[in-house]
Each structure stands twice: as structure tokens, then as C-alpha cells.
């Protein structure tokens, strides 16, 4: 995990995850139709790194996002623990 992320709280990490993920959603579509665009490829690399770091920090400290990122160290499958995305609150 990228150490610089340890200074952020869960609300901040969630915002960073949402923003880097949306940047990924958007650059992905652009690259689908511009697969040789070098500036977009460089932007993809930085967005990809930001999402990876934010995701790792969030899943370690705040809760699972992806099904292969569940921290089960306390012996509990907290994937099922609310609040769920459609309930608001995180």
C-alpha cells in the first residue's frame, strides 16, 4: 500500500476511490476509440495507479469494495456488512 494514503480518513479515501474510478470509466471509453493516443495512455497509467492505491487503502482501512479485497483477518466475512451502496451513508 502507498504510505501517503495512511493520512486520509475513510470519507477522503472514498472520494479518492470514486474520483479515480470515474476517471478510469471515462478514459477507458476514450481509449477504446483512440487506442494509439499517447497522452491518453499516459493519463490511463496515472489514473490506474491512483485507483489501485486508493482502492488498496480503502479496503485495508474501511471495508471491502471488490470481492477479492475482503479483509477477513478478524475471522468474519464482512462483505455482507451494511450499509450497502444503495442505502447511502458511504
Amino acid at each position: 500500500m502507498n504510505e501517503t494514503y495512511s493520512q486520509f480518513n475513510c470519507g477522503q479515501l472514498k472520494a479518492m476511490l470514486d474520483q479515480s474510478s470515474f476517471a478510469m470509466d471515462d478514459v477507458l471509453l476514450f481509449l477504446d476509440t483512440h487506442p494509439c493516443d499517447q497522452a491518453a495512455l499516459a493519463y490511463y497509467q496515472s489514473v490506474s495507479r491512483m485507483r489501485r492505491d486508493a482502492l488498496a487503502a480503502y479496503q485495508t482501512n474501511c471495508g471491502p469494495v471488490m470481492v477479492d479485497g475482503v479483509n477477513s483477518a478478524n475471522g468474519y466475512w464482512n462483505w455482507i456488512q451494511g450499509p450497502w451502496p444503495w442505502e447511502g451513508g458511504r
Binding site: V67, G75, Y76, W79, I80, G82, W84, P85, W86
Partner: protein, 212 residues
């Protein structure tokens, strides 16, 4: 939020086209007990589910059904690949070909288009889970019916995989239903809607337990 994985859940590699078989199997794409109806049913039902186990099961099975929809579409695609119009017309798939060429479009084996009336989202978690249990059994029966008329092992293999997943989903939905029933208030003997009319009171303490 969803993100695509560029792979099938279980491989589909069919080398011999068979348009007649494609027409049968297409029902598991857009038919009454097909994978689209399954995914839309479970993902829509989540919002009325009051308990975490049920929310997780509906989310995760609804997600897996999207992957099954992709497998079925891949089977149909490979069964109709590289055929001439004459071969398709002779197979009985002619009317489908006229409307969709070799494209994938959701319909039942008999040609009825997919529509949302093929599933319910009743806003009652007990009612919904009974429908889900029935849906998994109906899909398993359909796969049994398909396997009786399929002889090509390259087609049987992914169909057998999908059939086995129906059985696993039936088990998990049964466990989710038992969890909902465990939450019922003792006064709600006739299992009226615990999401609306009779929210559990006695059972709520159990929902707070987050460790093993």
C-alpha cells in the same frame, strides 16, 4: 457499481455450428427462465431486502447471472458462426435470421421476446425469495431438457456447468430464506411482509452481531 472482467466464467469453445440447437439454448438467454430474467430479478429485489445476508446473496448471485448471460450468448454465437443463409433457413432458425441476422437478441425458444413480466420484484423478501428458489429450479429443469437433446460434448460442458450453478444458487437462496425467517417477529406467524407491514423487532439484535 460493476466492472467488466475480460473472460468467461467457464470456457466456451464450440467448433461445430448447430443452428437448431442455438434456437433451443437461446431460451436461456431471453426466455422465461433465462439468465437475463434471473439477473434483473435478483438485482431489482435487493432494495426491499432488509437483512445483510439476503442483500449479499441477491447482489452476488445477480452478478453471477450476468456472467451466465455472457456464457449463453457465447454458446449461441459459436453455434451460429460461419453458416450460410440457406443452412440457417433449413435449420428452422430462418425467422430469427430475417430479423436479427447472426446477432444475439433476447427471446424464448418459441420466439417470444424477453420482457420484464418474466420476473417479479414484489417488495416482500419472503415472496421474492420463494420466487427465486422456483426460478433456480425452473432454470435447472430447462438445462436438463437441453442436455437431453444435446449430443455435442463441446456444448454439454458449459451447459452442465450452468446447470450446477442453478443447484448452488437454489441452496444459497434457501439459506437466505431461512435467515429471513429467523428474523421474523414471533407475532408474524403467517410470514407477512417483513419489509413493510411487519418489520422484525425481536430479531433485530441478531442483525447487530458482526463477529463469529
Amino acid at each position: 457499481m460493476w466492472r467488466y472482467e475480460k473472460r468467461l466464467q467457464h470456457p466456451v469453445n464450440i467448433t461445430t455450428p448447430n443452428p437448431r440447437l442455438a434456437q433451443f439454448i437461446a431460451s436461456q438467454y431471453g426466455g422465461p427462465d433465462g439468465e437475463i430474467a434471473a439477473s434483473m430479478r435478483y438485482l431489482s429485489q435487493r432494495y426491499a431486502m432488509p437483512y445483510d445476508i439476503g442483500k449479499a446473496v441477491l447482489t452476488d448471485i445477480g452478478t453471477e447471472e450476468l456472467a451466465h448471460m455472457e456464457m449463453i450468448a457465447s454458446i449461441i454465437h459459436q453455434l451460429t458462426r460461419g453458416l450460410t443463409a440457406e443452412q440457417i433457413a433449413a435449420s428452422g432458425l430462418g425467422p430469427y435470421y430475417i430479423d436479427h441476422t447472426n446477432g444475439i437478441w433476447p427471446q424464448a425458444a418459441g420466439g417470444i421476446p424477453f420482457n420484464a413480466c418474466e420476473f417479479q420484484s414484489k417488495g416482500d423478501p419472503i415472496t421474492d425469495l420463494y420466487e427465486d428458489l422456483a426460478a433456480e429450479q425452473k432454470a435447472r429443469t430447462t438445462y436438463d431438457n437441453i442436455l437431453r437433446v444435446v449430443k455435442d460434448p463441446e456444448v454439454c460442458d458449459p451447459i452442465r456447468f450452468l446447470r450446477e450453478r442453478e443447484i448452488v444458487h437454489f441452496q444459497r437462496f434457501g439459506e437466505a430464506l431461512r435467515d429471513v425467517q429467523d428474523h421474523l417477529d414471533s407475532r408474524n406467524f403467517y410470514a407477512l411482509n417483513p419489509a413493510f407491514d411487519n418489520p422484525a423487532k425481536a430479531g433485530e439484535a441478531a442483525e447487530g452481531a458482526k463477529t463469529c
